[in-house]
Amino acid sequence: MLSLLLAGLVATVVIALLGENPLHVASVMLSGSMGSLRSLANTLEEATPLILTGLCVAVGMRSGLFNIGGEGQLVVGAFVAAWLGTKLPIANPTVHVLICVLAAGVAGAMWAMIAGVLRARFGAHEVINTIMLNYVAFISTNYLVNLPYFKKPGQIPQTFDVAATAYLPRLTFLYKYTRLNAGLFIALAAVVVVWVLLARTRLGFEIRTVGLNPLASRYAGISVVRTMILAMGIGGFLAGVAGAERVLGVHKHFISPFPFGYGFGGIAVALLARNNPFGILITAIFFGALASGGAQVDMVTNVPRELVTVIQAVIILFVACEYLIRRSKPKEVCSSE
């Protein structure tokens, strides 16, 4: 909470420096994010992938791994969704969508598990490897999308549009032109599933134990290698599904470079929510509101939308420091050195 207040303060000062009235900007922000059904739909549309990538980061973090490869896992999932969405001749929409979403998830999972295996088997730091895998994903999908088999003729490196059977239906009852789609329900279901997984299942228990103390887990008979790889895989699955949501529900095609930032946004979401799935739902909607409100602010005032990125960064910094202010309260810690 303190971090949010401080970040708000920073934003106020910056806006004032630009010679705009912070109150005016705040009111535009508010109306642009939840002032009407249209802006509310925009907020939820922005929040949908953030819920999934936030969960992706959280599952990894609970197992003690920092998965900052959500960006790349999302892109891989998005590409696979576009591939199957354009090429699979399936007449039944439910089956087609299901196959695309699941395949995107599996692709994201496999991408993430590369880093998981390298960490668990070779001890190579997952942070470096997920960063490298992000770029490998951007570059290789850029190669693939330019192949004649995928590429829609023209100057822009994008695939053909996916078949209508692969569309995630848009929630047009909220607002006629919204891009908000059934992916929202997938994300909501994922929140519940991840909560149950972490809090109520054996695997979830193992993930949390490995995160707290890998050495003790090994003595307790938990396979650390298997748990780490699975935690990365589950995270990658969620990020891959987020990619499918973007393609099947919003863009209808894969384009290179793919719209950027949901993976890193997920880090902010998970941090602020302290890796709690229901907290992630709330913080993702909060960041979704910042994004949709920020777009409105960009249009009607002199304040560019990048302010939102700055606010996100400031929140991350403050949250990282806030953790420590709490932790430094007197407390017995068993050191494992």
Partner: protein, 294 residues
């Protein structure tokens, strides 16, 4: 023959920002602080270098500003991770986002509503021989870093603090002070690497570093956390980039195969398949004395 010479020149030009930033990464990581914020620091350097050169019509002033701003961001990373002992990776991620957001934001403030701007010819550096003067500075800096770290006492201390801070502390070395220096130095170097980009290409554009901070990190790892190794890796990655541009549209080899090279070889090196890269012993761990003296 002409093509070989031009390829060699392009290789060196492409590797300059990588040499700067990986030398920066070296100072920070060898002192025990992970710096994945190099990308953000470079972006800050690119913007501040370009904007100061643009307004003052003096490129060297821009270079100075980039070094200062880079150092300042280094201070931020150092303060958050060393003084407050926050997670070094989180701080790095935040700095990258801060760089991506703030530079575009400020660009719009100074250059009304634009996300890019061009430098006039009087705002740019004059070449010294075939290269910009910053090129010689970059390679000199890397050599200096190597001599500093392996031939001087403060350099030994920097490495000691990164390998085994407690042992260094018992020898009377001020662990956190040296780490602070290491991180600030990395910001200065990354800022200079960033400044090279607009001063070479003649314009600043949104997110113009395009992942070079991460490639520099890759060069550092591939070069086994050693400045000379990092220079060699930077040259290799620079060569891949130059070759990719030269071959564009001429060969059947897809450009992406060369673009992907730095990332793939880094992952292989880290996994230890060919000549394992081993990180400094205490990297990523904040240092505090067990109990402050009562």
């Amino acid at each position: 023959m002409v093509i070989v010479v031009s390829l060699a020149l392009a290789t060196i030009r492409k590797s300059v920002p990588l040499v700067f930033a990986s030398t920066g990464g070296f100072f920070s990581e060898r002192s025990g602080v992970i710096n994945i914020g190099l990308e953000g620091m470079m972006l800050f350097g690119a913007f501040s270098g370009a904007i100061i050169a643009f307004f003052s019509h003096n490129a060297w002033l821009g270079v100075l500003a980039a070094a200062c701003v880079g150092g300042l961001i280094g201070c931020l990373h150092a303060f958050v991770t060393i003084v407050l002992r926050a997670n070094q990776i989180i701080s790095g991620v935040a700095i990258n986002m801060l760089g991506a957001g703030t530079t575009v934001f400020l660009c719009q403030v100074f250059i009304h509503g634009e996300r890019s701007f061009s430098l006039g010819s009087q705002d740019r550096l004059t070449s010294l021989g075939p290269f910009l003067p910053l090129t010689y500075i970059a390679f000199g800096l890397a050599l200096g870093a190597a001599l500093f770290c392996y031939r001087t006492v403060p350099g030994l201390r920097l490495r000691a603090v990164g390998e085994h801070p407690r042992a260094a502390d018992t020898q009377g070395v001020k662990v956190n002070r040296i780490r602070f220096f290491g991180v600030v130095a990395s910001g200065v170097c990354a800022g200079l690497g960033g400044a090279y980009l607009p001063l070479f290409s003649g314009s600043f554009a949104k997110n113009m570093t395009a992942g070079q901070g991460f490639i520099a990190l890759a060069a550092l790892i591939f070069g086994k956390w050693n400045p000379i190794g990092a220079v060699a890796a930077s040259l290799l990655f620079g060569f891949a980039d130059a070759l990719q541009e030269t071959l564009q549209g001429r060969a059947h080899l897809p450009a992406q195969a060369l673009q992907v090279l730095p990332y793939v070889v880094t992952m292989i090196a880290l996994a230890g398949v060919i000549g394992r890269s081993i990180p400094p012993g205490a990297i990523g761990k904040p240092y505090e004395r067990e109990k402050p003296e009562a």
